[in-house]
């Protein structure tokens, strides 16, 4: 009985560690998703002068994107556009969407893009997107390094803590 209990304790602690590690990877994936979305928007603006609601729709329909929820929300709000400005809608969605894991600073950086979207020429919107993408790329590199180091650390810590706890309790 004691051994089963100890094993369960070790498993629980390890799983907690793995969970924390996954959170780090999830943030990295969200950042990568945000960068992909920005690049997609840039291409659509530059090459096709596509209207902003159509870009949001396309992004929301793209499979396997971590920002699917954010763009679904944006698309829905654009259907009844006219109550708020696009900048307000964009920052509201970016700041409040909890399905996406981004730091406050990363969200604020994305919000800045919203003040240009749909308001200025393609080149000005493109410049704003490029500036944001540059910042997020640096963040992605930092987050990736942190994720690979942190993942090992959290998993190891979880396992060690579980083993120690089991040893003490036995």
């Amino acid at each position: 009985m004691k051994i089963i209990g100890a094993l369960m304790l070790v498993c629980a602690c390890t799983l907690f560690g793995v969970g924390q590690a996954r959170k780090l990877y999830f943030r990295r994936n969200c950042l990568a998703g945000a960068l992909d979305a920005l690049r997609f928007m840039d291409a659509e603006l530059k090459n096709g002068a596509v209207p902003i609601p159509d870009i949001f729709n396309e992004l929301h329909r793209l499979p396997e994107t971590k920002l699917h929820g954010l763009f679904e929300n944006l698309s829905m709000k654009m259907e009844s556009f006219g109550e708020e400005s696009l900048s307000e809608i964009w920052s509201g969605c970016v700041m409040n969407d909890r399905s996406v894991s981004l730091s406050l600073r990363q969200r604020q950086e994305l919000c800045r893009v919203g003040t240009y979207l749909g308001r200025y020429s393609e080149s000005e919107q493109s410049d704003a997107i490029a500036a944001c993408a540059e910042h997020l790329e640096a963040e992605l590199k930092r987050t990736s390094d942190k994720a690979s180091e942190g993942a090992k650390l959290w998993t190891g810590l979880g396992l060690t803590f579980g083993l120690m706890l089991a040893a003490v309790l036995i």
Binding site: V50, M78, F81, S85, S121, Q125
Partner: protein
Amino acid sequence: MQTAQQEFLRAVRLLPPCLRSEVLELPERLTDGAEEIRLRAGRAPALVIAGGETEILPTRRITAAELQLVLEIATRASAHTYADSIRLGFVTAEGGCRVGLCGTAVTDENRITSIRRLSSLCIRIPREKRGCADGIYGRLTDGGFRSTLIVSPPGSGKTTLLRELVRLLSDDGMRISLVDERSEAAGTFEGQPCFDVGARTDVLTGAPKGEGIFLLLRSMAPQLIAFDEITSPSDIEAAETAANCGVTLLATAHGAGIIDLSERALYRKLLDKRIFDRAVVIESKDGKRKYSVEELK
């Protein structure tokens, strides 16, 4: 066909929500006859009725942010897709509502490339007035419809009459091509005209009139080409080419009458070329319009 109230509502939809709800509470006697909604930063909104401006909501002050939001609503938050028309000072929103823009012009080598920091907007309310051509249609089609020029001062209903004549002629069997540079005549939105322009009418939207006429001559083999507002020598050149190809024309021009037109160089040239056989002159008095047909040849 839409009622005057529905037409007004279509323009009101472009306003920011709080202003929209206040404007919707205005009495119908004001809104039914409204031709334009005028918005100026720091001023009360106004309606243009029978050519004169009436201030509505005197205590309300329009903000620059509200003007910007109107532009965003009109362009569906995609000003970049309207860059060419913004450069020319207007955008045409859903339902053919033309929004005239005024603010700080952005220039490059002395040419306006865009407009920023909006200070005033003019939302024109397009009206579909079925039956407005009934009094002159018989005379215009007697012995077959011939090239006709509609002449009136701005805001007197040239586009409305042009649209109605296009609809009647088209439904009577004529194959018509309409060059609708500013999407006002047909109110085309996402490929579909919001106004009834007849069963046999092909609409080319957004193209400059001169180029548009040449394009339609090549592509649609029209019996009649209709276009709004002759404003440049290239329009006259294109109209002349079309007339030489045997196509009948229906167009509009700004002017108080034929004498007024003949006193201006551009239109004198147009009249000298004898492209048009007839003119319909619109006179507006106390909000009522009087149409008279004059022979030009």
